[in-house]
Subunit: 278 residues, 2 copies
């Protein structure tokens, strides 16, 4: 038996693009509305499927067109089984709610876990983003951290709002697979991950250690429980920020590139750790 | 002595946003205009600097505001030393030419090298993009291939136009660091790289070989001269495309992610090769 919220008419097909509900959902594209409501948008079948599978208790409402419901039948079934409130609406209503819904979106609570609880279970691999501003980069790092088997991702300092729709989309559902938490300043986060027994490695173009999982010394370092710190996409880590880490690590650049893009650098580091740790 | 094209007035400060020249440059945002003119745009200081340093013979014109010229003095000096025609223009003129110029842009010839000549010098590491459509992904793979020391990048099949401004920007100058060539169909490109002595590895979520540079068998495979084939960002490689490769390789997914984003997957593969080969 699935339990449905009372006092709402689940049978009403949403067809009025000017309805108050449509405006309220569409407004979640803006940070201040998200912050006020404690809610954010998950757009498109992949993100919605993963939100329903991994975080159904946080999904407040699911909106879907009849076409999308036919195409992604398992999303509707899983949502109904989990007691998520599923609303059917017209193509126009979904489009008015979000330009990127592809016929299905979810409104999800921003409630999450604290940094302390995310670090409670003897983590072995953590990614820390310091002042990362680009939503696509942040989301892609969260996806790579998930793939590499990281225990959590921490956004420190002035990093982008992790409920930004572009962040959510770029994670391709990974936002619901592992704890992704907002920490305080980078110094505070480094202190917390250090207290959790993690060696802190900061990526830096002039780092002391060259990243090479095949090298015995580097491999031994990578095999330790590790928190990787990745800096801002444009200017990296400041010397003061890099100095917070136990070691600074440089990714070898064999060609004429100045550096790697942030998300590709993070993926290379996190997989180097995964190979050394497993 | 630098040689200047004759018949053009290098001293004229460009201030008319409606000038024919401004329209001609701005039109290069469109593929058909680029194709007709055999020219494309490089926007912003990093890309322009690398074009001047690594491919000055292909730079037809460089446009810069007085402010940008003061800030990026070395770009102007290098361009003048290389005989590149430098035009000064107002902020408004540069903005009318491109929304992403940050005060400096170059018009560059699309002429490049052929696949055969790119493969002539006993290459050890090549990246092949098969039907990659997203400009940011394609550009980021080119940048990662450069960083990992690849000998060239080949765009096969229906891949994005490599002179697309978003591709150019995402390469962060790497477009000028190594040959980036358009091949024919994936089958033709695989045949060419095979004839050049490269083992062809295709990334595939269900690949036969698990990517792990620390594993002796995988490490031995990676140590061979290799052409990596990366498929479309949405649907990967078809079974027919994957079957063209000597081996299919899967990146281990330790968390709940379905896959990695294309550019991060490519970076992980290319660096795994670099570690095994060097």
């Amino acid at each position: 038996m699935t339990e449905r919220p009372v006092g709402r008419d689940s049978s009403a097909f949403l067809a009025n693009v000017r309805a108050e509900r449509v405006k309220r959902v569409a407004a979640l594209a803006g940070r201040s509305a998200r912050s006020r409501a404690g809610l954010f948008l998950v757009e498109g079948p992949q993100g919605v499927r993963e939100a329903v599978r991994f975080a159904s208790s946080r999904v407040r409402d699911l909106y879907i067109t009849p076409d999308a419901a036919a195409r992604y039948r398992s999303i509707v079934t899983s949502a109904e089984e989990a007691g998520v409130y599923v609303h059917f609406g017209s193509d126009e209503v979904l489009a008015a709610m979000s330009g990127d819904a592809q016929g299905v979106l979810a409104v999800v609570s921003t409630e999450g876990v604290s940094l302390d609880s995310a670090l409670a279970g003897a983590p072995r691999l953590v990614a820390v983003l310091a002042d990362v501003r680009d939503p696509g980069n942040a989301g892609t790092v969260i996806r790579a951290a998930d793939a590499a088997g990281a225990d959590c991702v921490v956004l420190a300092g002035e990093s982008v709002d992790l409920t930004n729709p572009k962040v959510v989309r770029s994670t391709a559902g990974s936002l619901f697979h592992l704890p992704v938490v907002r920490g305080g300043t980078l110094a505070e986060v480094v202190s917390s991950v250090g207290a959790a027994g993690l060696t802190v490695l900061a990526t830096d173009g002039t780092g002391d250690v060259e990243l090479n999982p095949a090298d015995p010394a580097c491999g031994a370092l990578l095999a330790e429980p590790t928190a990787w710190v990745f800096g801002n996409e444009a200017h990296g880590l400041s010397p003061e920020e890099a100095a917070l880490a136990d070691h600074t690590v440089r990714i070898p650049i064999h060609g004429a590139a100045e550096s790697l893009n942030l998300a590709t650098a993070a993926a290379v580091c996190l997989y180097a750790s995964a190979w050394a740790q497993r």
